[in-house]
């Protein structure tokens, strides 16, 4: 199989997961209070929407960078890609969980840990998929990549998970800390490449 159809299918899943996030934004029922107040009270939903939207968008960019190196895909890469999409597809759920519980006084830490944990899972599977591509199936690459460069790309990708490890762990302190780390990470990867050191763009993952 050529990577084209894999990319088309993956683009579809990314696009749908990113757009389904809007289903977590709920219109306050008329009569439930002053609309301005009600809308503002739902700010965790908007924050979670923006953070998850950017994070999925950035993983999509990285997905493209990783899979466009391939001339051909085999069964193992298809399955790795499927596992990656599985973790992407679950994000509207964990985003909703985060938004619903952020302001609660019970369960808010666990919800935040699950939220950051779902990004970490996605990132971990992405590292695994990338490893399969770069180290296990070099014969499928368009151009050979020297093993030391491949390992460096993987190292960067793995390092890119550190914020999510922190965000998951610090959920016990406060879910706001978790949300702030996830937000900063998304913003960081949205910044111009030059401002974070050139050449890392496709080695990182939000």
């Amino acid at each position: 199989m050529t990577p084209n159809r894999l990319e088309a299918f993956s683009d579809g899943v990314f696009a749908i997961a990113i757009t389904l996030l809007v289903l977590d934004l709920h219109v306050p029922p008329p009569g439930s209070g002053e609309l301005g107040h009600e809308l503002l009270a739902r700010w965790p939903s908007y924050a979670a929407y923006v953070i998850s939207f950017l994070t999925i968008g950035i993983i999509w960019i990285n997905h493209h960078a990783a899979f466009s190196r391939l001339r051909e895909v085999d069964h193992s890469i298809l399955i790795w890609n499927l596992l990656l999409l599985l973790t992407v597809g679950v994000l509207p759920f964990t985003t909703s969980l985060m938004a619903e519980y952020l302001k609660e006084s019970s369960g808010e830490g666990l919800a935040a840990a699950v939220y950051a944990g779902s990004f970490l899972l996605m990132g971990g599977v992405f590292v695994g998929a990338n490893r399969q591509i770069l180290l296990k199936r070099p014969q499928l690459l368009k151009q050979p990549i020297p093993p030391e460069i491949a390992r460096q790309i993987l190292r960067y990708a793995a390092l890119g998970q550190i914020p999510y490890v922190l965000a998951s762990a610090l959920a016990v302190v406060s879910p706001y800390v978790t949300l702030a780390i996830c937000a900063c990470t998304a913003i960081y990867y949205s910044l111009p490449v030059a401002s974070r050191g050139a050449g890392h763009s496709d080695a990182n993952i939000a």
Copy 2:
């Protein structure tokens, strides 16, 4: 990255956002009253559906015109595009808000302002993305565009936001005024190009 995959992903988000609008059309529960009456009472939902559908459709046309000028995309353009999609993805929510509150006696002005404001935000980000393409990354264009032409395209795109500024501001008068302005704008851009002056087609944004 070539613009092809960016376009495929963007097409997916546009197509999903436009189709998710239907989820705001609710079937009256059986037994809630005479069906014909119940269906007619929900006309704000249908109006908001048609206006938002056409508006997203027209921004999709403009998106194509803007991004098809590119030979290649860089990180900055990917992120501008992602921000644009973020504002498109939110429209099913603001459309639903408008439809729910149009006939209410409280919150209707704010809902209308948010509705027109979400179109304005989308339009503003489109102008920004277009500016990035035309002025900041001329080296990525398929064919060079003289700066004065580029500025004229941007001026038209910016002028195209005036109806949404008006629609947002006049929400304090009546949400019906807001809805009417948004409807007229969508219809205007749906009309044959000839009837609004040739050559502006891709410089405008609904």
Copy 3:
């Protein structure tokens, strides 16, 4: 604009509208009665799902046949296509309306008329889009089509709407008659072309 991106976007809308139909299939809440009985009682949802799925699928096939004749698209064709997608996007709503009201003793005729009417509207817009392509923009076709052939294609397409006119009108008799006509029409166009006279395949619309 080449027809490729128009087709990609349209494919997206068709695919989403057809897949959103599943959201009208509701799982009976546990404890609401014997599951087998509850599932069987919801047969109108399954019937409406299958009929709408096939009907959207067939219009998608016809859409492809009609738009693949084009070498290029202009603004008028983009807008006709957008109007067609607007009528496709609304079908999950009218399908749900039909399914909810079929077994009711009030409103069932109107629901059925709206259901068949939404197919008729889609068919009518398809005829309009086809007319724009074949008669108004012959210069955009890949290969010239003699006007008499073009008119014949349009005549067949228009004749293909007769079942929906009947189905809408006969909703006053019984919604089951409407459903049966829509079902037969979908099945008819799913049959091998040979069994309904060769050469009509892309002149008809479900």
Copy 4:
């Protein structure tokens, strides 16, 4: 029609059906109990999500293998494909049914039988579509396939349905048995091809 647009449309339906599965994952309403407990209690939803996700992903891989053999598609293949997509589109519903009833003391067997039955239906239609491609329309293939090879491919595909026959039948014993068989089947087809005998990859269907 070339297979390209058929594949693009099918990819869309597969991608949407697979991503809509997330809508069955419900956030426990705040205040309904300890969040950790509530989340764990919903494990059938997560299990059903993962199993259905992998199963749809694998049928997508097989779909590609089967349809990429075609140089061209005719009406009969379009309709077979549409029927296949119809059975794919219904899976979010049967997945939700399985998840809701797994732990119930009434209806759980039927729900499980419907779940496995929906995979069996999808598999059966896939075998039918494959048969149409390989035996009935050999003139549309890119490269001729000897009838004995074609029959062997179909035999493998049919044998691949045996787990679902078992899973449906054994629902009377316990829905957990059904779920376990479906899980094992999905995992089996996700394993490296080598570990299950080379050359079967596209003759099987999850």
